[in-house]
């Protein structure tokens, strides 16, 4: 059956992007539009039934069985990912509206554009469609960074775009090579081709070259090692709420493309081992770089890279338990990391800076925010009973069960380093008295505190009841997961 409502999850945010652009300069209208649209986008995935949408009504060719048009697939894990994405986009939009400065319809439009395109990446079962929306997501992310209007942002954006362009062309070349083998751009068709041709295709140079090109592009789009610095620089230059949304988009793209890679290239010898090394590289280098930072947002940016390493590790181990843990970690990360970025925006407003040496004593001036940020920091460090503990523990157990105790040890060590880094930052920003008297900055708007309460509340709920999220994830993990050999 052709489920007609599935594309609405992509079309409506993109239409909202156009609408918000048209409302540019009208503060009241923009505020009302954001409030209304946010709720719609969060609730929409719950109203859409699971299934497939065949664009143009084109199903599959009767003779060859290959897909004729673009197909969107909507399942349980996609529902949860899209809801979380919409939630974070909504909070980012609310943060911008209440930031005290000029409300920009163009900026809000790019937030919504990113929501729509990232949703498309999650839904599509067509590899070229995935490429197109991936590129538009990268452009929308660049626009969010560039909008800060600083020279640092322009420089970071240019570097990001140049390498994104090369990576995008590598991805397209990889897709073209697969198309030449299969004769279709549909991922399910490609998966059937690989399954039908068994070991023959795994030795095909064309297939292996395609695999290498797509892996390279995936590594870049996900901000994994060796591209971690570029992504972290982008997060550092964006407004904190935008950085929160960008890192969620990146994690979800990592999951979406990672699942495609498992379906297509899961059997390629040594690939998952190489990707596992890349993931561990991101985990380790991310946390080491975070420890060296003397700016709060820069530190969080490198932690975002380190956490992406955990997600990629789960997907590269590839067993059903590891895949479930990886996706669960991406969801958890969306919650606590966004909370930390919003918390960093509160710190920058109240403390007038993000530099550690100039901050201090904010526990006295904003105690509620300080407590909420502490919970988010404990969650990202994997301290029980919060959600980060649940997914990190699942990742460690799945690595151990797959016969990779060394990966478990590295995950544990990175978790300890994350805890040290987070507590050091917390002490410097909130607990210790400031080195020099600081003139208090602007008060934190209530909307920021409410955002933090919701995000941290979800961290606690998923910490106690992880089965709520896992119920949505299990099916795709069992369907996609493979054995570790």
């Amino acid at each position: 059956m052709n489920s007609e409502l599935i594309p609405l999850m992509v079309v409506l945010p993109m239409a909202a992007a156009v609408l918000l652009n048209l409302l540019h300069g009208r503060r009241l209208a923009l505020t009302a539009a954001v409030a209304a649209l946010g709720f719609i986008f969060i609730l929409l995935p719950f109203t859409v039934a699971y299934g497939a949408h065949y664009f143009g009504g084109w199903t599959r060719d009767g003779a060859t069985g290959l897909a004729v048009g673009i197909i969107y697939m909507f399942g349980a894990h996609q529902r949860l990912l899209i809801v979380f994405l919409a939630l974070v986009a909504y909070f980012a939009a609310i943060a911008h509206v209440n930031s005290g400065g000029r409300v920009s319809g163009v900026y809000l439009g790019f937030l919504m554009l990113g929501l729509g395109t990232c949703t498309a990446v999650l839904l599509t079962d067509d590899l070229f469609n995935l490429y197109v929306f991936l590129e538009i997501t990268l452009i929308s992310q660049t626009a969010l960074v560039v909008s800060t209007g600083t020279e640092g942002a322009w420089k970071a954006a240019v570097k990001y775009l140049i390498i994104a362009n090369v990576a995008g062309n590598c991805l397209l070349l990889g897709i073209a090579l697969l198309l030449s083998l299969v004769g279709s751009l549909n991922i399910a068709d490609m998966q059937s081709y690989v399954a039908a041709n068994g070991t023959t295709v795994l030795k095909s140079p064309v297939f292996l070259l395609s695999c290498a090109l797509i892996t390279l592009a995936w590594s870049y789009a996900s901000g994994l090692f060796p591209f971690h610095n570029i992504k972290a620089e982008m997060y550092s230059q964006a407004r904190p709420h935008a950085a929160g949304l960008m890192q969620v988009q990146t994690k979800f793209i990592l999951v979406a493309v990672g699942l495609v890679m498992l379906r297509l290239f899961g059997g390629v010898p040594h690939l998952r081992t190489v990707v596992l090394y890349v993931a561990m590289g991101a985990m380790v280098f991310g946390v080491i770089m975070a420890l060296r930072q003397d700016n709060y947002q820069h530190m969080l940016s490198y932690h975002a890279i380190s956490q992406a390493g955990y997600v990629a590790a789960g997907l590269s181990i590839g067993t059903p338990a590891a895949v479930a843990a990886g996706i669960f970690h991406a969801l958890n990360n969306a919650l606590y990391k966004t909370a930390l970025f919003i918390g960093s925006e509160c710190v920058q407003r109240r403390g007038r800076t993000g530099e550690f040496r100039l901050l201090g004593g904010l526990m006295q001036t904003m105690p509620v925010v300080a407590i909420l940020v502490l919970i988010a920091k404990l969650a990202i460090s994997g301290v029980p009973p919060f959600n980060g503990f649940q997914s990190k523990f699942m990742l460690m157990v799945s690595a151990f069960d797959a016969g990779l105790p060394e990966v478990t040890v590295i995950m544990l060590l990175v978790s300890v380093l994350t805890f040290i880094s987070m507590m050091k930052a917390y002490h410097m920003v909130f607990l210790r008295p400031p080195e020099a008297p600081v003139e208090p900055g602007e008060a934190v708007p209530y909307s920021y505190t409410i955002t933090l309460i919701v995000l941290v509340g979800l961290c606690v709920v998923l910490g106690f009841y992880p089965q709520i999220a896992l119920g949505y994830i299990q099916e795709v993990a069992l369907r996609t997961g493979l054995g570790w050999t």
């Binding site: 020279e151 322009w154 140049i162 362009n165």
Partner: protein, 118 residues
């Protein structure tokens, strides 16, 4: 013909990659990017080249059998068109940023632009 196109595409890709990696001037890097994009587009078009083929449009006088036997595969052409649009957006954005950077930093040398970055 097809092999020559593949070789040309490969050469364009390598020249573009060389410019992106080794050239210092930002505009030369952008030129390298356009070379890479053109290489991929040429590869896509060459992929479905047919000796003695016809354009994939049903014209008067072309029977369905002849069309099925001779018409070039139209999908890759659609991919190329989409890719050109994406490339226009990306390259325009980079060039716009290059103008801003040149205005503030007074140089297009990437070594100097990125010297003090993390």
């Amino acid at each position: 013909m097809q092999a020559a196109s593949f070789l040309t595409a490969g050469a364009l890709f390598l020249v573009g990659l060389y410019a992106v990696v080794f050239k210092d001037n930002l505009i030369k890097k952008v030129m390298g990017l356009t070379f890479i994009g053109d290489a991929v587009n040429l590869f896509l078009i060459a992929m479905d080249y047919r000796v003695g083929g016809i354009v994939p449009i049903i014209l008067p006088g072309v029977s369905p059998e002849e069309f099925a036997a001779k018409a070039a595969y139209p999908l890759t052409i659609a991919l190329v068109l989409t890719n050109i649009v994406i490339a226009v957006a990306t390259i325009s954005l980079i060039l716009g940023l290059a103008i801003k950077i040149h205005g503030s930093a007074g140089t297009l040398s990437t070594r100097r632009i990125w010297k003090n970055e993390q």
